[in-house]
Subunit: 242 residues, 2 copies
Amino acid sequence: MLKVAYLGTAYCGWQVQPNGISIEQILNENLSDLFGEDVKVIGASRTDAGVHALGNIAVFDTESRMPGDKVSFALNQRLPEDIVIQGSKEVDPDFHPRHADSVKTYEYRILNTTFDNPLRSAQTCFYYMKLDVNLMRRGAQYLLGEHDFSSFCAPRTQVTDFVRNIFSIDIEREGEEIVIRIKGNGFLYNMVRIIAGTLMEIGRGKIPPEEMKDILEAKDRTAAGPTAPAKGLTLVEIKYTE
Amino acid sequence: MLKVAYLGTAYCGWQVQPNGISIEQILNENLSDLFGEDVKVIGASRTDAGVHALGNIAVFDTESRMPGDKVSFALNQRLPEDIVIQGSKEVDPDFHPRHADSVKTYEYRILNTTFDNPLRSAQTCFYYMKLDVNLMRRGAQYLLGEHDFSSFCAPRTQVTDFVRNIFSIDIEREGEEIVIRIKGNGFLYNMVRIIAGTLMEIGRGKIPPEEMKDILEAKDRTAAGPTAPAKGLTLVEIKYTE
């Protein structure tokens, strides 16, 4: 099992795609080179183009006898500097990172200033209109718990079950940034970015916080706010609970 | 007067150079385009290749009647996303940003973890050996005040006066990062990076903190530690005191 961190800026996302280079492809190529056999990773979260991670999870099968904890160091020697393994260990061959129960933590970072900050622009969404964090918090509370999140799912999806459980949403100011930290048992396609985009509309006073309840109940993507840009989103952690 | 922020990664530094693109050149080109006349900026600090800034200062002459505070917005429309003007105002035509007295604040950021963080690697120096912040603080105190900093100046320089005044050096942990924040009336070529490199040697126990006194008194570059990488350094602020 690999804990994978990456700056998503240069990639077409996690999943192998015909146009563009994916994180999955870079890992497959470098693991195959390292072990001299054909290696294919299975990722826990197929993050979108431009989305970052501090702790995505990937597993793979290998004939190699390299100790699990040494793989991270050997692999980091080969990887480009925008992908860094944060740790590795051997796991049960039956373990599947998408089928096992987990708590996923995402962070969405908004740079809420008059001017963009070039030292932070790769990892934040610049938003110059003043945002009221208290309004955002009031809107976010309606999303807590188990709901059908169809309103917060991009149409392009093969999913049929739109019920997910959000355990917590914390919204804090960190200097010039507003951080939306969401924990849940799973997220639909673009779900965190649509939640962030809707919370920004609430924060600037365009949507009243109470309307979040109606948006959720509408079960219709067009009821919610815009999809916030990918570059503000980071998959922080996946914790397996079983 | 422009307050200029930039991610230095893609640039050969502030100053126009035959090989590579400089911040100065980008500003000259875009200001000349904006005003339809030949504009040349004078920068306060000629930062090195790869060094970042949140608040470098530049001035220029123009025939334009655009109000000073509007220049930042007009110029940001044209600039690449890794250079962002943080504000602009009209100043006295005699003002020279390098001749006026000022307090300059630099930050050197060290990512002191087992694995590099790809979300922070453009703006930090990754250092995996454990650093003792208290040792670094003890070493730093010898540098406070007015001294001849020849030991902390790269040989390639036309400067003849090596005396500078350091007002403060604060060393703090911020999560996984160690931040060295230095304020002074001016800095020699590579001075902050040589101080940071020497403090890292002290922090890992290779040089005793008391030896900083001898290094300073040696007035010899070879007495100090290595020059820390450019990417960890940011010019945070220049405050004019007159």
